[in-house]
Symmetry: C2
């Protein structure tokens, strides 16, 4: 590679993604599964170098801007949470300790909320990027995922947010509960059924779960229907509970995954105005905004 | 051992309990962890004999009356479900195939409900025993456990019932979710907090779960508080959802476990009239009632 200005990094619990940026454009991309979950502190620098060392000019220091769980207490360096309400990104970044002189690694802080207690790391950068790409946008951002988040945005600030364990509940029920015996595949009608159940009576989740098992025993419920209905029930219950977030608001769903489709469909059933947005674009825009703020602060005005 | 009339057996997924009965009284008891979950069909007879072979008179056949998952399709012999509304026990029992001539093993059928789909195996015997011990009782029976059940009883019949996955949810969240990092011990105040949350807003379960994690990160929530609060949230959400069962009814909680205490406390917070009853007593009374029905049917009237 000939040249680059800086490196953008999205480093979560189970993934590491890096982009080389020159003149505001991506000129190289790489990724690995060496997420925070499997690394100890001395291993972070090498995990990063394994992906980017060919990109680094020998004579110079390259700025690396990272977001995600890498900034947690168990990560490379702790980047303290900032408390909402606040802008999604602040001006202070945490410096990660490095041995290789070619690296200058800074990590973006996550956000915290005291009541109800909640935290995010990584999503704040996607939010900042989304707002950079959509200046002046007010409304609610929905970020589907293992721990999905609903975020109220007003006047460029994160006012409040709420995280749901929905995706993880789906995984552990599929893998570890009595339901694991009859879950495989996908069936659209099953999702629609489950969604309607979850939206209508979210408080019945725990009994509806056992009903899935009973229908397997009594009515030979197809594994594809059971799995899709479980997903629908869980997402339906989440969307019903998140009503104070989306009611009377426009909602931006960040994500191009199949999961994001399901959330968009659930919201559409309430005629909520929904737009869809690319997560990678938002992440890069957010990392870019963080770099700009860092450069501005790091290089004092000369005039 | 000198003598016995018959053997009562409670055989679930993870346990096997046997009682030798003479003149209506328990004269011996044994148990093992050789539940249905770890046995294949040819192994059942030996698992039973390992506990009872010393009890069996050589010259005679001993009646063994069993309830529980042993009667499921994957059990020793399938005892077809009976459909509610119906009496908790019927007159037909399934004969399990045996090689040892000293054994005559019969298995009690479970109950099924078509809408919403639900099943029970074992609890029907506890219910029958409870009703034998409390003749003419009407109301709602609550059976706490891994899959807790609420059962509406009227005129000696099971009118309807509902199973909740609450106990299993607690287990898999404690063992396999992100919450596993901060869960240990027990704290009464934490249970009371979680119970209030679950009762008040059962539909918020999925977001409250993540809040537990966030409070651990932000406020160093004690693991004992987190674990008790999780239990309270789940039981509270169940009791709230089961309101159509207990509202305006008296409730008999079957169980002397710590878990049964928690259910009784949750119900007491709504001033529901609650009585507590011993499960082993109810199980034995139910097995005894099944034996009496079997003897009556098997030995035609002689006058």
């Amino acid at each position: 590679m000939n040249s680059l200005d800086w490196i953008a990094v999205d480093w979560g619990t189970s993934h590491l993604r890096v982009w080389a940026i020159l003149d505001g454009r991506v000129v190289a991309h790489a990724q690995s599964d060496r997420g925070m979950g499997i690394l100890s502190r001395p291993q972070y620098e090498q995990a990063l170098l394994d992906l980017v060392h060919d990109w680094l000019p020998d004579a110079d220091t390259t700025l690396v801007v990272a977001c995600g769980m890498i900034g947690s207490r168990q990560g490379w360096v702790e980047a303290p949470y900032r408390a909402v309400p606040c802008m999604p990104q602040g001006t202070t970044l945490a410096h990660a300790p490095t041995v290789d002189k070619r690296l200058n690694v800074v990590v973006i802080s996550g956000l915290k909320q005291s009541m109800p207690a909640d935290v995010m790391r990584g999503e704040e950068t996607q939010i900042a990027g989304f707002l950079a790409l959509n200046p002046g946008w007010d409304g609610v951002i929905c970020l589907p995922g293992t721990h999905s988040k609903w975020v109220h945005i007003s006047a460029d600030e994160v006012v409040s947010f709420q995280t749901y364990l929905t995706g993880e509940l789906f995984q552990i029920l599929s893998d570890h509960s009595i339901l694991r015996h009859g879950m495989a595949g996908w069936d659209e009608a099953g999702f629609a059924d489950g969604l309607a159940q979850g939206l209508e009576r979210p408080e019945r989740l725990s009994s509806r779960l056992f009903s899935l098992r009973a229908e397997g025993l009594l009515n030979d419920l197809a594994p594809a229907t059971a799995r899709a209905r479980l997903s629908g029930m869980l997402i339906g219950a989440e969307v019903a509970a998140a009503k104070p977030y989306w009611l009377g608001q426009r909602v931006a769903v960040l994500g191009d995954s199949a999961l994001a489709d399901l959330y968009a469909r659930a919201l559409a059933s309430f005629s909520v105005p929904v737009t869809r947005h690319d997560v990678a674009d938002a992440t890069l825009a957010g990392l870019s905004a963080a770099r700009a703020a860092y450069l501005k602060q790091d290089q004092p005005c000369e005039n």
